[in-house]
């Protein structure tokens, strides 16, 4: 009997622990950060037509020995580019808002991904279709400005 009680208790505590630990809201992780440099990878943009808004996603891995900060974003494909985040409010409606500079501690990653942080391209100057590429520049406090070309893709 006590054994059974204990077993049930372990089961309950265990499932609570699992339930809590699987809820990872953090945008940052430190797996596979290449040491010695700040690396931009997995970049892509959504397709959109001229005059619409676009979004760019990528992973920023800070492998340098110092903390860095993403200060600003830019793209020649749009009138303006801003760092945004999508959010859900308590009524389970969704929206997005501009966000401030994003710190990226040493040997950590910052993920820009669908439904979360994104580079918003406002008022596109041209159509960007699947197969095209888009140039984006990211300004960091430590390593300066990095420019990259990202392919236009459809989200899987």
């Amino acid at each position: 009997m006590t054994l059974l009680k204990h077993f049930l208790l372990v089961l309950i505590v265990g499932s609570i622990a699992i339930g809590c630990s699987s809820k990872s809201s953090s945008q940052k992780e430190n797996k596979n950060v290449v040491l010695g440099k700040l690396e931009l990878s997995n970049g892509w943009a959504r397709p959109a037509s001229q005059g619409q808004n676009g979004a760019v996603y990528l992973t920023i891995a800070n492998g340098t020995a110092s903390d860095d900060t993403l200060l600003n974003v830019q793209s020649d494909a749009a009138d303006r580019a801003e760092l945004h985040e999508s959010y859900k409010d308590e009524n389970s409606t969704v929206g997005m808002r501009p966000v401030d500079r994003q710190p990226i501690p040493e040997s950590e990653k910052l993920l820009l991904k669908p439904g979360g942080l994104h580079i918003m391209l406002m008022n596109l100057k041209r159509d960007i279709a699947v197969g095209d590429s888009v140039s984006v520049s990211l300004e960091f406090a430590q390593v300066g400005t990095r420019t990259l070309q990202v392919p236009v893709k459809i989200q899987e």
Partner: protein, 199 residues
């Protein structure tokens, strides 16, 4: 309590639990909203008038709500609709409907572009319309959409973002809404399972 008296109680409890789970798994979703007699005149991407939901009766519809100036969440919803479509072995009696809650900017032509850019096939209907019928349909379906003006662009009234509901509805062949899901993050298999129950 002795071991003997506890075990039968536990057994009964487990049996009851399993039974109720089995019933839950087999039961068809209840009607959330009955639109079977409703009629909303909306516009298709070729500017032709459609009667929602009358024109869609006879098929099961997966219905979501978007605005095309939305670069992040709405494409996630669209991607999820596509994943539901590709997860179905047989899509012959299923249609996918995305209704714009921004008819001011989402003209049939704009929705046509969106459909093309996101490579949505002919099973997808992207609908807009005059503000009046669109608004009355949205309120009937408890879909909220609110414009927000970014401070920096106050002068230009055509530049706004929207805070909006995040819902996918499943509508049966008779035009009754039978299930609702969080649009951007429902696992496609949950919707597919319910579709099978309604077939």
């Amino acid at each position: 309590m002795s071991n003997n008296s506890f075990t039968p109680t536990l057994q009964a409890l487990c049996t009851a639990l399993l039974l109720s789970l089995a019933i839950l798994a087999c039961s068809k979703p209840e009607t959330i909203k009955d639109l079977s007699d409703a009629s909303y005149k909306l516009l298709n991407t070729d500017s032709s008038t459609v009667d929602f939901p009358q024109d869609y009766k006879g098929n099961i519809s997966v219905v979501s709500f978007i605005y095309t100036h939305c670069p992040d969440v709405c494409p996630v919803i669209t991607a999820n609709m596509k994943n539901i479509q590709s997860g179905l072995e047989d899509t012959s009696d299923i249609q996918f409907i995305e209704i714009s809650f921004d008819p001011q900017r989402d003209t049939p032509q704009v929705l046509k572009e969106y459909k093309k850019f996101f490579q949505l096939n002919s099973q997808f209907s992207l609908l807009t319309g005059e503000p009046a019928p669109v608004d009355s349909l949205l309120s009937q379906l408890n879909i909220v959409a609110k414009k927000i003006q970014p401070d920096s662009l106050q002068q230009d009234s055509s530049k706004y973002d929207m805070i909006h509901s995040n819902k996918i509805y499943l509508m049966d062949k008779a035009g009754k809404i039978r299930a609702e899901y969080p649009a951007s993050n429902v696992p496609p298999k949950n919707v597919i399972e319910d579709i099978q129950k309604l077939r």
